[in-house]
Each structure stands twice: as structure tokens, then as C-alpha cells.
Amino acid sequence: MKANSKFTIASLAAMLAMNTALCSAALAEDVKIGMVVTLSGPPAALGQQIVDGFQLALDQNGGKLGGQSVSLIVEDDELKPDVALLKAKSLVERDEVDFVVGTVFSNMLQAIFKPIVQSDTFLISPNAGPSTFAGKNCNPYFFVTSYQNNQNAEVSGMIANEEGFENVVLMVPNYQAGRDNIAGYKQTFKGTVADEIFTPLGHQDFSSELAQISTSGADALFTFMPGGMGVRLVKQFEAAGLDESVKFTSVFTTDETTLPGQKDAAVGFLSAGAWAPDMKNDANLAFVSAFEEKYGYVPGSYAAQAFDTANLIASALEKTGGDMGDKDATRAALEAADFTSVRGSFAFSNNHYPVQDFHLLEVAKRDDGKFWTTAKQTIVTDYADSFHSECKM
């Protein structure tokens, strides 16, 4: 790790000021991993995928990661920032965990970020990848194993160029991640944006927006409607007959968490992502079949990223021999990302966000009647986010 002495001193000072007892992992005991994910409310399915994916990696290695026994403590942030903060503090102060894995949503990550990294605990996000911590606020204790939030949208813009869409309507929920997606899309898309529509978060009835889309004369729609919103939008989109005139492209809208609700209505819809369950590398084939056998449902990107997160930690623990006392050694081991990702290629950029390939995904129905996304074509390789140059790490 280059030039991080400044950070260590700063965080040491902060720690002394906080009167926190330094937890030393010199004792030969289990490596403790805390997890903060959303397990209640409508998006609970996403958090569950992360728990399941991580647990699968643990179980495959007999409850160990990198040869070290691991105890996993799972906390539910209830999608409330203050709850997330309290749970994160309890993990750091009471359980004295060595790693925190979380969160699903960017706003939860914002809430827990400071107390965790200030206590010199490694925070690894298996999903949320806000721009906030990718640029000048990047942190030596923070890693992201998923993507940077804008990336999928940027790739969607490239897909639109490639598919020859000229007139596109952008529709997102009115919150930061939605706005990030629009910004990312516009950064790469070369055609005309016919309209930008912002809906409330958790929107129920899209009929009004669909009418707007149909009269706008657009040839494609780009949207970001995770969870239940995506299920409703896709079904209503199809019921209004828009799928014949307007191409549906999206991110996190037609994935394995929403397809069980969308079913046939989503078949053929396009999206962008770094992973799909049908990717043909050995690690992924093994992961998907083991996952389906154990949990009985098709894993989505959330599960895959959590599985990768567990294997990343395993690779680091293997290198350090489980010695959590030497933070620098652990950090260096994490940065090396010396594990086999289900995504094929995977490396960390200087800001600890991933550098990876992105693909065009398409929804398909499998022979057994279940639905999943398939990777059709690689759009961009070794793609790093656009904030990493601002990170002085």
C-alpha cells in the first residue's frame, strides 16, 4: 500500500479521541465477520441473496475461509439509516468484528461508513457502490466487490449506441441512485434523450408514465426500477402493449430477484451487467448449480457478488495466515484480489472498486420453466469507474 501512513495516523488520532479500546486480534480465535444487509421490507429478497451467497461459500469450506474458522454475524438494517448505524456500531464495538460486509443500498452504506472505517475495520460492500467513496473520499479500509453505481448505466448507454437506438426515454425513481443512473447513461449515450421521467420511490401504477412514453415517439426505454417497482413496471409495460414499439432496456430491473414475478412478460428484455448465471466459466458453473441445489432458486448478481466477497476474504486470510493484527498486510492481501471470481476477470482499481468486464444481458426462459438472464455479448472489457482518478490512495 502506497502513501497510507497519513491515513493511519489520522485514523489512530480519531480512534484515541473516540476512546475506543483497540481490539487486538492477537488471540487465536475465530475470524469474525459482521454483515449488515436489508432483510425486512420489500427489498428483503436482495439481502437474503447476499446472506445465501456468502453462506454457501462458508459451507463449501466447512465453515472456514482461507483455512480460518469464521463466525458470521448477520444484522438487518431494516432499510433505516439509524438502525443500520446502530447495528454497525454493535458489530464494531460489541462483537469486535474483523470485517463488515454490507450493504445492499447506497444510503445504508452512507450511514454505516464512518464508524466502521474509523475503527480500522475493513468494510466490504457486496452491492452498493456509490460514487461518494470512489473519488476523493476513497478509504483504505473500504472495498467494493460489485461495481460502481454509474457503471451499469454507462454500459447501457454503450449498448444503446450499439443497438442503434436514437430516441430514448429515461425513467428512474427520484432518488440518488436513480439520478446516478441517468447521469451514467447520458455520459456514454450518443442519441437523443426524448424525455426524463422521475417517479416516486416504490411507485405502484406506471400507467401515467407509460402513456407519456408511448406519445414521446421513443424507440427505446432505459430504466432502473429495482425490486417490486420492476415487477410492476414490466407487467404493466407488457399489458399496455408497449413492448411491440419500444425496446425495454434496464439495469437491476429484470434480474433473478424480479424475474419470478415478471415471468414471460420480461423475456427478451435487455440489461447490462458484469455477471449472468449462465456465464460459462468453471467457477460460475459450480457456483450456480451448488446454489440452486442448496436454496432452490436461481441466484442473482447479489448472491454472486456475495460469493465473490467471501472468496476474496478467504484469499486474504490465506495470505496473512489469519493474523488480523497487521492491517496493512490484510489490506495488501485484499488488494491483490487473488481469488477465482465467478465473473471471470476481476481486479481492484486504486480506489478499491472493481475493474471488470461488462456484458449485454437478455432475459430468457430455461427449459425447466424458470427464468434467468443470459450473457449475450461482452460490451466492454476491464472497465474501471470514472471517479478513480480523484482517489489519492
Binding site: 479521541a17 473516540m18 476512546n19 479500546a21 432483510l39 438487518d76 433505516k80 439509516p81 439509524d82 448505524l85 446502530l86 456500531k89 454493535s90 464495538e93 460489541r94 447506497s106 444510503n107 452512507q110 450511514a111 461508513f113 464512518k114 464508524p115 456509490p130 461518494t132 473520499n137 427520484n174 432518488y175 440518488q176 441512485a177 439520478r179 420511490l201
Partner: protein, 326 residues
């Protein structure tokens, strides 16, 4: 003020709260302090809400908005370079007071459930306004990289000192609201709640008394917001969500409306029950829900009356809120 059991128990609770930061960390339970801080911050906001609901019969479902206003005013102040906590406090009081004055003047044209709904409406407006503050994080909220100081010193940071400050604020707001309720101001509020027509005839402007209470309650809630910001180092529009206002109402009702200790007991109860139930059952809400139903059915007057049944004279129980006759 009569010396009775409820007062003694209250003193005991405060002594325990005061002892906690000295006793818990050596036992390796410093995490519990975060829990107590959460309970105390809730209690401050609930005490101010009880002034409205318990004394004045004004059921507000938008009170959390004032907590958020306090937090956001301070956070925005910090972001624009104001660091002194006293200046931030002044700003928070000013902004929340003004907001309460305007919304209160409109909302108090209505009574009963109409009042509940119009406060909800104002709360929602504030919530959506906060979500549209893109420079301050919008819906994601804002992580604060620097915190408020006391004339440049960091004595108002760090969880140890902050704990004591929050405890002092709790004590002060509890005492202040007690004094207010026992003074003529509180008697007029209660009279207006129980018999608005007669109170009006006696020459009191109900509207002015209620508006004053509304503004005071909003300002106390804002103080809780400011402290929440300083403790969490983070603000988000979720602080103003109507569910938060609902939680505050539940605390006040659980604890016992208009009683001396209700708000504090309710807040402690809520936080402890959540923590205890949640620790052994992930589906703890399956127990928590029916528990609330049972409390509503069988514990008339809330925890406060369960613990101190003798203390009933203080409030005979509101049958119809805000003088509304159904």
C-alpha cells in the same frame, strides 16, 4: 410538585442513565451506550410530542419532521462552514420555530383527526423537500466529515461526552416540559383539550396557547435532531418519514399520555424490547405486534400507569381528542 413514587423512580432512572457510561465500558458493554443514546434521543422528541398530545390533545403525525429540520439545519450549517455548536443550535431553533409557527398556524384551524392528517401532510412536504436537496445528498442522506465544535474544542464530539450532553438535554427538556405543564400554560392547554368552548369563554385564546405549545414542541424536537446529527455523523430524509412520527406517537401512548414519565419510559421500553426480541428471534415483529395490541387493550394509560397506578389523578384520560365530539 408532589413528591410521589413516580418522581422517585424518575430520579432513579436518571441516576442509572448517569452511571451507565462509567459502569458499562469496563464490563465490555460499551455498545449498550449507543442503545441508551438512541433511547434518550427518542425520549427528547417524545417528551416534546407529549406536550402536544398529552397536554394539548393535539395528535400530530408529523412531529418527526421537526427532528429532521433540526438535523438538516445543523448539517447544512456545518457544510457551509459554521462549526460552533451554539450557533448551530440557534439556527436549528430558529428554523424549526419558524416552520412550526407557519405550519402550526394553518394546522390549528382544524381539530381531532383532521389535525392529525394536516400535520401528516406538512410532514410529508418536508420529507419530500429533503429528498430533493441534491447538494446535500438527496434521498441518500449526507455523511458529515466534520462535526460541530464548542468554540473550536472537540468536547462536544466523541460518544462519551456526547452521552452526557444528551443526558443533560433530556433532563432539561423533561424538567422544562414538567414546569410548563404544571404552570398556568399547561392548565389552559388541558382545559382547552377537555372543554374548548368553556376555555374560550373564560377569555383564553385557545389558538394562541396551542400554537405556542406547537412551536415549543417543534423546537425541542429540533434539538433532538441536532444531537442525533452530531451522534450519528449522518443525516437523511428518512428522519422525517411519517413512520418515524408514528413511532414517536407509539412511544408516547405506550409510556402513558400526559404523564410525568411516559415519554422516557416508552422510549426505553421500545428500544429495549426491540433489542431483546430481535436478539433471539429474527421474526421478532410477530411478537412485538401482538404485544402492542395487548398493551392497547389492557394497559389503559400506558406503562406509566402500570407502574404507578396511584398516579391517576394527573390525567383522567382523553376520551375524545382535541375537543372533537364524534
Amino acid at each position: 410538585m408532589r413528591m410521589d413514587r413516580s418522581l422517585l423512580v424518575m430520579a432513579l432512572v436518571f441516576v442509572l442513565l448517569l452511571a451507565a457510561p462509567f459502569v458499562l465500558p469496563p464490563l465490555g458493554q460499551s455498545y449498550l451506550l449507543s442503545l441508551l443514546i438512541k433511547a434518550m434521543l427518542l425520549a427528547i422528541a417524545a417528551i416534546s410530542l407529549d406536550l402536544l398530545v398529552g397536554q394539548g390533545g393535539m395528535i400530530s403525525l408529523g412531529h418527526a419532521a421537526f427532528v429532521a429540520i433540526g438535523a438538516y439545519t445543523a448539517a447544512i450549517g456545518l457544510e457551509s462552514g459554521i462549526e460552533n455548536i451554539l450557533v448551530l443550535l440557534l439556527l436549528a431553533l430558529l428554523v424549526s420555530g419558524l416552520c412550526a409557527l407557519v405550519t402550526g398556524a394553518l394546522a390549528l384551524r382544524t381539530t381531532g383527526v383532521y389535525f392529525l392528517m394536516i400535520t401528516l401532510a406538512f410532514g410529508q412536504m418536508i420529507y419530500f423537500t429533503l429528498t430533493s436537496l441534491a447538494p446535500y445528498g438527496g434521498d441518500d442522506g449526507l455523511t458529515l466529515w466534520s462535526l460541530a465544535t464548542f468554540f473550536g474544542s472537540d468536547v462536544v464530539q466523541g460518544s462519551g461526552q456526547l452521552y452526557l450532553i444528551i443526558l443533560l438535554t433530556l433532563l432539561a427538556s423533561w424538567w422544562g416540559v414538567q414546569r410548563l405543564s404544571n404552570a398556568r400554560f399547561g392548565r389552559v392547554l388541558r382545559a382547552a383539550r377537555d372543554n374548548p368552548d368553556r376555555t374560550e369563554i373564560m377569555g383564553f385564546s385557545i389558538f394562541r396557547f396551542r400554537l405556542t405549545a406547537y412551536v415549543i414542541a417543534g423546537m425541542i424536537a429540533a434539538v433532538s435532531g441536532l444531537l442525533t446529527m452530531q451522534h450519528a455523523e449522518f443525516v437523511s430524509p428518512a428522519m422525517a418519514a411519517w413512520q418515524r412520527s408514528g413511532d414517536l406517537l407509539v412511544i408516547v401512548v405506550l409510556g402513558g399520555l400526559g404523564t410525568r414519565n411516559g415519554a422516557l419510559l416508552g422510549a426505553l421500553f421500545l428500544v429495549i424490547v426491540e433489542e431483546v426480541l430481535g436478539s433471539f428471534l429474527h421474526e421478532w415483529r410477530l411478537i412485538y405486534g401482538p404485544l402492542l395490541v395487548l398493551m392497547a387493550l389492557h394497559a389503559k394509560g400506558g406503562l406509566s400507569h402500570l407502574l404507578f397506578p396511584a398516579n391517576r389523578t394527573e390525567k383522567a384520560g382523553v376520551t375524545r381528542v382535541n375537543g372533537e365530539q364524534a
